[in-house]
């Protein structure tokens, strides 16, 4: 790897490398735990752990959500944020605000330990930790909420350090930031807002659990505000990592120019607040005008992601065609698929198409109340959380770690194969889960047999869910174990990731090149949305009673 990003990471001072490696290590530890607990939860849901008591099952589910959704995504984001800013800015290659950054990392790790201990020692509250579910304030419940507050404080400080690092470039000579640095600053701002949202959601709950305040009456609403940010953030981070990796792995820059790239990344922030209206669809007395406005605005939620996808595919295709690629998909074959990061990003794009199509089914005003409390939700969102975001973040880590650690990541051939194996399990998990959800199977109930009173399809589909979760979990655990071994191991591997030759060693005249694959993919996505929506109506019309949602998502 000889890209500018990794070259600058290699030049970081030892203290900054230690900070980034600490964040990467914490991220991988959180992910390993989250994957392990998730796989066990899947096995429990599939009926493969018959002796498991309900409380332990819900504790596994809670730990999976806490570790994977909150801590893995947060640690990975601050690692990638700092690595991208430090590796793409001009001037000195170093992290600014180092004391704040180290304090932030310490707070996040303390939060991780606190939340983990709270879940293990207290009642399993699920990852949103509603106080009303705990019923009584206890130190263990306070540890869960307090952990989230420490996480929020750490995120805020680390995001601040990222902005300070980016400002060095401006102070060094003014002028425009590179697109990646601008997008990273926008991402840092959204992280800060999310940290504020986390305090808004969990500070009252923490005070109550610590015996210092009354039970908060509106935890659910505050949670939805936080959640809207928390599921938007990783998607913005994902496309930014794609953008940076395309440049790093192929040498190709966006053919649309930096100004267009920045506008698209800023669009993420412009669309975040107005699209949050759809979270109110489950309110029974919501005015029709808000319902209509929410439906229309929700359609915009995927626009920035689709634009970045189009920008990247068109840039790659145009460059490849100027260098001889033929046929509709000939350019795809030229991508450096033997590199683990490229394989992970390729799989992530496929999974995003699937998860994205189903997400548009869910956020429709007529379907949201029917589907929000069903297993359709975990069925589709794992295409996004594991299949897209996690694989993309791992791709970023796989590229950045060798520069920070001074040694290549080993077993590259396995790292190329494992994302496809994980996706095979994900397809089984997702297909069975979405079908079960369309048939009304509940989302957060460990056993859906209901003593034989439930539709026969529910437990049968859950068996497939458990099987898919096992394959997906094992493949992902193996992937993370290989990356972690490279982080902590001392031997140099013989099976390192191959060096990637840059595509644009000459400046091609791409202005006459065709680039149809991206637009065609969007048409396929829209057709899939229509198809999955029609399927949803067909399946739900065929069951005797639809399950009305109660405010879960």
């Amino acid at each position: 790897m000889t890209g500018e990003w990794t070259r600058r990471l290699d030049l970081l001072p030892a203290r900054d490398k230690a900070l980034l490696l600490t964040l990467a290590g914490a991220a991988l530890a959180a992910l390993l735990l989250g994957l392990g607990f998730g796989m066990l939860t899947g096995l429990a849901r599939g009926g493969f752990l018959p002796g498991l008591d309900d409380e332990t099952g819900y504790r596994l589910m809670t730990l999976h959500g806490v570790d994977a959704f909150f801590y893995w995504l947060s640690f990975a984001q601050v690692f990638l944020l700092l690595a991208l800013v430090a590796g793409h800015g001009g001037g000195e290659s170093a992290v600014a605000g180092r004391p704040a950054a180290w304090t932030g990392a310490g707070l996040m790790i303390a939060g991780f330990v606190s939340s983990q201990a709270g879940v293990l020692l207290g009642p399993p509250l699920l990852y949103d930790a509603p106080p009303e579910l705990a019923m009584d304030p206890t130190p263990a419940v306070a540890a869960v909420h307090g952990g989230y507050l420490l996480l929020a404080a750490g995120l805020f400080l680390l995001a601040g350090a990222a902005v300070a690092t980016a400002l060095r470039t401006k102070r060094a000579g003014g002028g425009e930031w590179p697109s990646v640095v601008f997008a990273a600053v926008a991402w840092a701002g959204l992280l800060m807002v999310s940290a504020i949202a986390a305090v808004n959601a969990f500070a009252p709950a923490f005070l109550w659990a610590a015996g210092l305040g009354a039970m908060p009456a509106d935890h659910s609403t505050a949670w939805h505000l936080l959640f809207h940010n928390m599921h938007y953030l990783p998607l913005m981070a994902t496309v930014l990592v794609w953008y940076a990796l395309v440049r790093e792995l192929t040498g190709v820059e966006s053919i649309f120019g930096a100004a267009f790239s920045k506008t698209v990344f800023a669009a993420y922030l412009l669309f975040v607040p107005p699209t949050s209206l759809y979270h109110m669809f489950l309110e029974p007395d919501l005015p029709d005008a808000v319902r209509t406005a929410g439906s229309l605005l929700s359609l915009f939620i995927g626009v920035p992601t689709i634009l970045v996808f189009l920008m990247l595919t068109a840039s790659l295709e145009a460059h490849a065609r100027t260098q001889g690629a033929r046929g509709l998909f000939g350019w795809i074959a030229r991508l450096p698929w033997r590199h683990p990061a490229m394989a992970a990003v390729g799989v992530a794009v496929v999974n995003l198409a699937l998860g994205g199509a189903f997400s548009f089914v869910l956020i429709q005003e007529k379907l949201a109340p029917l589907l929000s409390d069903t297993f359709m939700i975990p069925g589709y969102f794992h295409f996004l959380t594991i299949g897209t975001v996690t694989l993309t973040f791992l791709a970023g880590i796989v590229v950045a770690l060798p520069a920070l650690r001074g040694r290549e990541i080993g077993r590259a051939r396995w790292l190329v194969r494992l994302p496809w194996m994980a996706t095979a399990g994900l397809l089984v998990f997702g297909a069975a889960g979405i079908a079960a959800g369309y048939m009304g199977a509940p989302r957060r109930t460990l056993s859906v047999a209901y003593d034989g009173l439930a539709p026969a399809a529910w437990p049968a589909l859950m068996t497939w869910v458990g099987g898919g979760a096992t394959v997906m979990g094992l493949a992902m655990i193996a992937y993370v174990a290989i990356v972690a071994a490279s982080l902590f191991g001392s031997r140099r591997s013989e099976d390192a990731a191959p060096a990637v030759p840059a595509w644009n060693t000459v400046t091609p005249d791409w202005t006459m090149a065709r680039a149809w694959t991206g637009p065609l993919s969007v048409f396929v996505l829209i057709a899939a949305m229509f198809g999955f929506t029609a399927l949803a109506f067909d399946l739900m019309a065929g069951i005797p009673a639809a399950v009305a949602g109660g405010g879960a998502h």
Binding site: V185, A186, A266
Partner: protein, 61 residues
Amino acid sequence: MTADVRLLAAVAALWAVLSILYATVPMLAHMPGSAMLWGAGAVVFAVIAFIVRAAERRGRL
């Protein structure tokens, strides 16, 4: 002023407008806390835009 500052300021402005709408339009009252959150976000992006602008000026001196 660079595109960086203009875009960050645009985000702050839009979030401020939305915050005001959430605080003043009765039919949006189903999500209490929205006005505070998007308002706080507007402040965050306004502060970032301001310090980026200040850094640019310093860089040109």
